[in-house]
Symmetry: C2
Subunit: 320 residues, 2 copies
């Protein structure tokens, strides 16, 4: 971490009294983990902290210490905003935008696509998670990382790397995990609670989605319909993880899961092997993401959407 | 590691010239990883080494450096046998038993159910893999851990912990992984090659096994028949990983997969949540393993076997 930037960040934090922490809509484990972890750290420094996320905390993260204090309305007076894990300002949600005028904002994030918004932007794509950056900040400032903080930060590390499986996990990331375990976080508890557990109904839905797998050349695709979810009484998150799982299929370079949402739109989730960029395909279809994991939301007839997506992917695979 | 035991082991190794390394039948990533890792280490000490495994190396491990040298016939003269990752002598296979008479044997294993056979038994259930023990031995003796050795050892760590997800992963285990990464092993390469990739046919088989899931109280079970494997042209390893995957089902405490082998015997693979010990159940049925992951092989009518296993499990769950 750049020392000048660190000093600037510390100065802004020191001069603030009431800090608004914000993480992104549709929060994941790194969003919630960095929000909670930094809140605990700042409170230990005597700051008043509000934790804001426009969307509800997914059930799988509600056991994290302090998650009940996260608010969905950004009320109250604040003199500093810190944005966590948001690659652009819109990711902070609609509610917040107006209230931010004139307030200093620190943008802390690890996404390579971060737009560097805010008064200060600390963007480190070499970190596997935003929580890894929070740990680095705490350690370089000598802030004590207690057990509850370690649990929150380890949650971000584990979820963003799917338990140390992603291509970007290096020795620094593993050292960070070790540091958090030594501070009292149970890796097994975090993993078990946020990564491995899924309801039987969700597994049965996966079984049906596997039945519907199609392999066309290097493209593997399947679908999750409203009817399938209704059959197993599953909500819209019922198929989470399916695309990641299918991306391990040896015969394919690209995986697509077409998920029919409640409102009839189709979520298109894509995964690819290194060397094939699905972010570009998603971008052309009105979405975005990372080269190996991207997506978009489309409206219209399912069969038409499928043909359009597959055509774009065939083109991308033919000319990688 | 106990210093007296270490000295005894080192003395036996020092006085040997031609060492036969043996790992267990139906080898997994820890079996192959410890076999290859120790072979490289001993050769660097000037020993002649034969690596024996009665069953073929599963395709997923054939990329590991040295795996082509593993033999399935234990021919040749040897003056020391080292058994790796075998919880009892039978796990070394049928071919070997006779040739072992009179030879000193070092038994290195991390299974809590190890029968402590052999001249010297170094059994450490606190290690997450036998490869972790080999690393500990190498480091305490000052043997150099080169990059190929680190890759083999990391393979055992990653597979036996399913990428650091099992209950027994502690800071010592993560330190061992970090040590191996620092020695040049790529965690991502190992994970991608041995854990995440599977043939489409195997995924389709999982889909069928999911269709056959039964939940009885806290026990979730399914089966993989010869007919199912034949349909997808899969060999005996086609369902590897299924029990681990199913162990994430939220409604169950124990998972059992009954797999019909080519010879008609039934492999019983069990997984459990902490607090429920399937190693004891497996042991009573003639098998072994770890408290949260154990198994046995049984002969007879499938329905009878299923009832016997489920009855043992119901008893174990009633009185954990």
């Amino acid at each position: 971490m750049d020392l000048k930037l660190q000093n600037d960040i510390v100065e802004l934090i020191h001069s603030a009294r009431r800090i608004l922490l914000v993480t992104h809509v549709a929060p994941d484990g790194d969003a919630i983990g960095s929000l909670l972890g930094l809140a605990w750290l700042l409170r230990a420094q005597g700051k008043e902290v509000t934790q804001f996320c426009e969307d509800a905390v997914p059930e799988v993260y509600t056991w994290l210490p302090g998650s009940a204090e996260i608010v969905r309305q950004p009320g109250g007076l604040h003199d500093l905003v810190i944005s966590l894990d948001c690659s652009d300002a819109r990711r902070m949600g609609d509610l917040l935008q107006e209230g931010l005028t004139g307030l200093p904002l620190i943008n802390i994030d690890h996404h390579v696509t971060n737009t560097c918004f805010g008064t200060l932007a600390w963007v480190d794509p070499s970190s596997v998670s935003t929580t890894q950056m929070i740990l680095e900040l705490a350690d370089s400032l000598g802030w004590q990382v207690s057990q509850p903080i370690a649990v929150c930060l380890l949650c971000g590390l584990v979820t963003d790397t799917r338990s140390f499986r992603t291509y970007n996990v290096d020795t620094v990331a593993v050292q960070a995990a070790l540091r958090l375990m030594e501070a009292g976080a149970s890796l097994n508890e975090v993993t078990r609670r946020v990564l491995d557990r899924r309801p039987l109904a969700s597994v049965r839905l996966w079984g049906q989605a596997i039945d519907r797998l199609h392999l066309e050349g290097n493209i593997l695709w399947t679908e999750v319909t409203r009817e399938m979810r209704r059959q197993w009484a599953l909500d819209e998150n019922g198929d989470s993880g399916l695309a990641n799982f299918l991306s391990g299929v040896r015969e394919s370079k690209v995986v697509v899961v077409f998920t029919e949402r409640k409102n009839g739109t189709i979520d298109v989730g894509m995964r690819s092997e290194p060397g094939y960029d699905v972010a570009q395909v998603a971008y052309r279809l009105g979405g975005g993401g990372h080269p190996q994991a991207a997506g978009c939301t489309m409206e219209g007839d399912v069969a038409d959407i499928r043909e359009r997506v597959l055509a774009e992917l065939r083109r991308a695979l033919a000319d990688p």
